[in-house]
Amino acid sequence: MSLSINTAKESNLALCPKCHKLNQLRDGDSHQKIQCVRCHGFFYQRKPHSLQYTLAWNIAALIAFIPANLYPIMIIYSLGIGDPSTILSGIGQFVDHGLYPIAAIIFTASIIVPLLKIAGLFLLVYRVHTGVRLRPDKHSKFYHILEFLGPWSMLDVFVVALLVAVVELGFITSVAAGPAINYFTLTVIFTMIAANSFDPRLLWDKKQSNE
């Protein structure tokens, strides 16, 4: 860092995550629970045990992602015969029909984004923990992309919910949700909580303590 930047932590201040008010720490204990003078909410200077929480939610998301891909996410009944499809085979159907843009959107939202989020958060936790080749500017941008992408994975769940409701023509054709939809939703929620648990300020803290 060419410019010497003072951080709030070094100045014995803590930023309220909700109302962005700087609070003064009493007697310099950086792990204490602080009550914000402006919004009266409780918070910590850094999210406590941020890395452990991120890692734990991340592992949970990874575990839930396995049944999410193995079980069928949607079962299409036509004339009484059920045709189950998993996330991947659903994408395959779009490719067969030549709907490449839609196939690409679903593939990105349901496969690439969850995996990228899980792998990316593992990487961030590892880098913060060890401090190896830590580039806070690059990594905090990366973290923002991950955070932004999170909710878009819900796409497949919403699609199934809509199809179940709309395609309801009795015996001729109907759509039912498969067991994978529960696991997939859990994956999405776990990765969102994992991303929320990560405190990007730790990247800069670690970098500064390394220098």
Binding site: F158, N182, R201
Partner: protein, 208 residues
């Protein structure tokens, strides 16, 4: 490390914790952190007025967006349509309670609460009815920041339309237009809400 730092004259970057002197911003100006490049503070143009009008529009479109059928299919002479609320009811009917609850939360409950929240806050500011309870209200409002997924649901509608176009007759109903308008107005309402300014005003009013 002196004990008498004036916290009113300082701001810190939320992303990297860098500390700066508080700048005086005019409407439309924003400051970026020189270390990590994220926006630290922003003074939005006509925030209260714009957010009030958008959230009013959003409240107007809310009921038709949820209750009117979004789309319908015709196959072998039979027609069936569904609204946003029908999605939830059918999922409950089929026993998918977890999905029903989550779709309800992300696509209906959280957006509604956020819209009413934005409306209530801007209403209080516009007509000068500030109450100390707004501090707690606004803090609770922030907890919902990440969990409104109307935009994702919109993409879901588009994708499922493509899926249905293939082997059924698809009809688009009024619910879809209401939903799009609801999506636009609630997005604009929360985008126009200048939270720094609101916190600052509330602080001047009620804290100390």
């Amino acid at each position: 490390m002196s004990a008498n730092i004036d916290t009113k004259q300082l701001i810190a970057c939320q992303q990297c914790d860098a500390l700066y002197d508080k700048p005086e911003l005019k409407q439309g100006q924003s400051v970026k952190c020189i270390r990590c490049g994220s926006t630290i503070a922003e003074r939005k143009v006509d925030s209260i007025e714009r957010s009030f009008n958008w959230s009013l529009a959003g409240l107007f479109f809310l009921v038709p967006a949820i209750l009117l059928p979004i789309m319908g299919v015709t196959l072998a002479g039979q027609y069936h349509h569904a609204s946003l609320l029908d999605c939830i009811l059918v999922l409950i009917d089929r026993g998918f309670f977890m999905i029903a609850i989550l779709v309800f939360l992300f696509a209906i409950a959280v957006p509604i609460v956020r819209l009413f929240g934005a409306f209530y806050i801007t209403y209080s500011f516009k007509f000068n009815k500030l109450k100390p309870s707004l501090l707690h209200f606004l803090r609770a409002f922030h907890h919902l920041d990440n969990w409104a997924m109307l935009n994702v649901f919109m993409l879901g509608i588009v994708v499922s339309m493509y899926k249905l176009l293939d082997d059924t007759d698809l009809s688009v109903n009024m619910g879809l237009f209401a939903f799009i308008l609801w999506l636009i107005s609630s997005t604009m309402a929360s985008a126009a809400l200048d939270q720094d300014y609101i916190w600052q005003r509330l602080e001047d009013e009620f804290v100390d």
